[in-house]
């Protein structure tokens, strides 16, 4: 076990950014599974509707990211959006207008298999009502080439709880898995206590981690913190994605969470390509100017 953990944080320089190789699926175990390698792309925290000094180019950033992913030589099997599709508003009509416009822009993705989930900006003020009208259920599962994906909603409750009903649903779903099944969890907030005094946590996220612990091949992808971040809880890896609106400062680096000053080159914005093979490999895809 220890040896496997040490391998988890092997970092390799890649062409399109940094390749992060996580030794999640030990060689031999994964290759014995049906399916084989595939890759998907993670978008996060697009915050459509945000206007402010943190990103004067906010009208164009999402479209640029769509163009970047459309330009990949090897298109992904599918695309996931890990929440905060829109920036919040108190006006229910404006919220729906933002969701509408967001959906029109991402309809430009060439890959048509796209999975959404909400962030607190989308769903916390109306318990996910508008979100469900546009994008459907806020928690669900799907399977792809032998990997089981579980989407968890830790935002429809404004106090950042998964809640007992969803935890029971997760437990029931996991009961149908074998201990060595390959499982990917997609969610908005960190499930672990990354920076509790910045509210970078899920109130009952430890309960979800506890339910996942008996499974040997689990990896979590999330957003919310607007920066790349990698963390292990036991053998479970948690990877936060960059945002597509503005980067936030490193957790704990200053007393208050805040956006980083705007940099026109937008080096801290982007999407991420995830290859699911015998290992999980991450390649960060910066937003290219176009």
């Amino acid at each position: 076990m220890l040896q496997r953990h040490r391998r988890d944080f092997l970092k390799l320089a890649g062409l399109a950014g940094v390749t992060f190789t996580a030794g999640l699926f030990p060689p031999g175990e994964a290759s014995a599974q049906a399916g084989g390698d595939f890759h998907f792309v993670q978008f996060s925290d697009t915050h459509w509707g945000f206007k402010g000094a943190a990103n004067p180019d906010s009208e164009n950033t999402l479209a640029k990211a769509v163009a970047t992913v459309n330009g990949l030589a090897n298109p992904p099997d599918f695309i996931v959006f890990t929440g905060d599709l829109t920036h919040t508003t108190d006006d229910p009509k404006e919220r729906r207008a933002r969701m509408q416009r967001f959906r029109e822009i991402v309809a430009g993705l060439r890959v048509k298999d796209v999975r959404f989930m909400p962030g607190e900006h989308d769903a916390s003020l109306d318990a996910g009502e508008a979100y469900k009208e546009f994008f459907g259920a806020t928690n669900y599962t799907f399977d792809h080439k032998g990997v089981h994906f579980i989407v968890l909603d830790n935002v429809s409750d404004p106090a950042a709880k998964l809640g007992t009903a969803q935890l029971a649903w997760l437990e029931a779903d996991l009961k149908q898995r074998k201990p060595d099944d390959r499982i990917v969890v997609l969610t908005h907030r960190p499930l672990f206590a990354l920076q509790p005094d910045w509210d970078w946590t899920t109130a009952d996220g430890d309960k979800a981690i506890e339910l996942l612990m008996p499974y040997g091949n689990v990896v979590v992808f999330y957003g919310h913190i607007h920066q790349e971040h990698h963390h292990m809880t036991g053998h479970i890896a948690h990877h936060a994605a960059k945002s597509l609106i503005f980067p936030l400062v490193v957790p704990g680096s200053q007393p208050r969470r805040a956006p980083k000053p705007y940099d026109p080159a937008q080096p801290d914005l982007g999407t991420r390509d995830v290859t699911m093979g015998s290992k999980v490999s991450l390649v960060e895809l910066p937003v290219t100017r176009s």
Binding site: H87, E120, A160
Partner: protein, 115 residues
């Protein structure tokens, strides 16, 4: 002693005890309103019991102070009373942990515990 007598004796005693507690435990009032606490800096004494009296002027907010293990929901139209006896000195951040709109992320404050 009759049951009736006990009731007569017991009720005033309980009331007096409650009045005494209210008189001796200092209260600190904190109001919540999108997107700030008023006041947003509160000073209390180390080891001395205090009651935080929390109210909201508009909607539900939260007050979370992770370092002292304190959390409460602040519902408008009522007083939320949180008793606390700070056991460590220092400056501790608190913040709203019930998402309340565009500005929620800036809704925070500081509790100073003086030795």
């Amino acid at each position: 002693m009759t049951r009736r007598f006990m009731m007569m004796l017991g009720v005033p005693l309980a009331l007096a005890a409650a009045r005494l507690a209210a008189e001796t435990t200092p209260e600190v009032r904190i109001g919540a309103k999108k997107f700030a606490f008023h006041p947003n800096k509160v000073t209390v004494k180390l080891g001395r019991p205090v009651v935080l009296v929390l109210t909201s002027e508009d909607r539900i907010h939260g007050l979370k102070l992770p370092e002292l293990g304190l959390r409460a929901e602040i519902v408008p139209g009522q007083e939320t009373r949180v008793s606390l006896t700070p056991q460590k000195a220092g400056s501790f951040a608190f913040f709203c942990d019930v998402f309340c709109g565009d500005g929620h992320e800036d809704m925070d404050g500081t509790l100073v515990v003086e030795a």
